[in-house]
Structure formats: C-alpha cells, structure tokens
Subunit: 101 residues, 2 copies
C-alpha cells in the first residue's frame, strides 16, 4: 500500500457536491471521511460505535437530547455509541467524520 500524506483543507476544496462523503484516509478498520453539508439531519444513533466529528471549514450544530453543541472550525466532538444525535448544518460546513467502515 502506498503511503501518502493528505492535506485536509485541500481535499475539502475539491468537494463541489453537498452530502457526498469522500474517504480521504483509512486507519485499520476506520475511515476518515469528508463531507460538505447544509441541512438538518434526522435524529439517529449508532448502537455499536462512537462517531467523531471535526469541523474543517465552517461551523455546525450537533444536537443531543440534552444539549446543542456549537462546533466551530477546528473543534471536534465524539458522540458515544447509542446516543441519539442530530447534526444541523445551517450554513455550509465541511466536516471530517471518523467511524468504522
């Protein structure tokens, strides 16, 4: 397997389509994915795995049933497995997600 470095913001700049997930790296059985989003997602949960969100460009909100987190560029949050959450992208935002493939 060829080793290559990834410039995260350069990869973000290549994305022109909303809500289309791009795998930019893999670590063991986890994918690092970039997505540009601008919409409210539905409430959902991942019963068996945590999920990491890192705001790469722009800001978004991540609601749990208890609290709404305002995630700004350069911030990350881990949603534990089994916790209901709802990402809310009021403006276009590019997020890096890390989760099992």
């Amino acid at each position: 397997m060829e080793i290559r470095k990834v410039n995260i913001k350069d990869k973000a700049d290549l994305i022109t389509e909303l809500h289309s997930y791009k795998v930019i790296a893999q670590m063991n059985d986890y994918y690092f994915k970039l997505v540009k989003a601008r919409r409210d997602f539905v409430w959902h949960q991942h019963p068996k795995t945590d999920e990491v969100f890192i705001a790469v460009e722009g800001s978004f909100k991540l609601a749990t049933r208890d609290k709404v987190f305002d995630i700004k560029e350069g911030e990350m949050i881990v949603i534990p497995g089994g916790v209901e959450h709802k990402p809310i992208y009021e403006e276009e935002c590019c997020v890096m997600l890390i989760e099992p493939k």
Copy 2:
C-alpha cells in the same frame, strides 16, 4: 459519560511541556493524543496497528525507509502497521496522534 466538544488548538495552547502526551478524546478503543515535540525519534514500528499523525501547529518530517514526508500544519498521514518510521521534529511542532489505547 459527559459529552463535550474539544477545541484542538486551545488544547495545544495548554501544553507547556515537550514530549508529554495528552489524551484529548477517545473514540471506542482509540485515543486522540496531542504532543509537542522537538527531537528525532528512533526508528520503530507498530506491528499490529496503523498510526495517524495530524500536524496541528507547525511542521515535522516523517521518515519511512523509502521516503521522507514533510507534514505541514493541517496535513495528516497514516503509517500502516508494520512499517518502520521515524518522526523528525526539527522545530517544535504539535501533533495529534490517533492510535489504539
């Protein structure tokens, strides 16, 4: 478990000691760690796991036996399990590492 967001650069600003690893987040059985470094590490490998490096502040070099990668702020690289590598921090750099705990 309390859910909290993490500002990665703010966490980096709190680190005053070189070569001291700080766990800033956990996803399943993986740790996200920050370290400020300024030295050459020894050649080593992790037989059973890939390792992710993300340059948070500053730049560093990551040598494999085939190539030396220049990892600049905002860039990441995945070193596959079993691949010998040697991080080289000629200047102080803050790196986020992702690997199993």
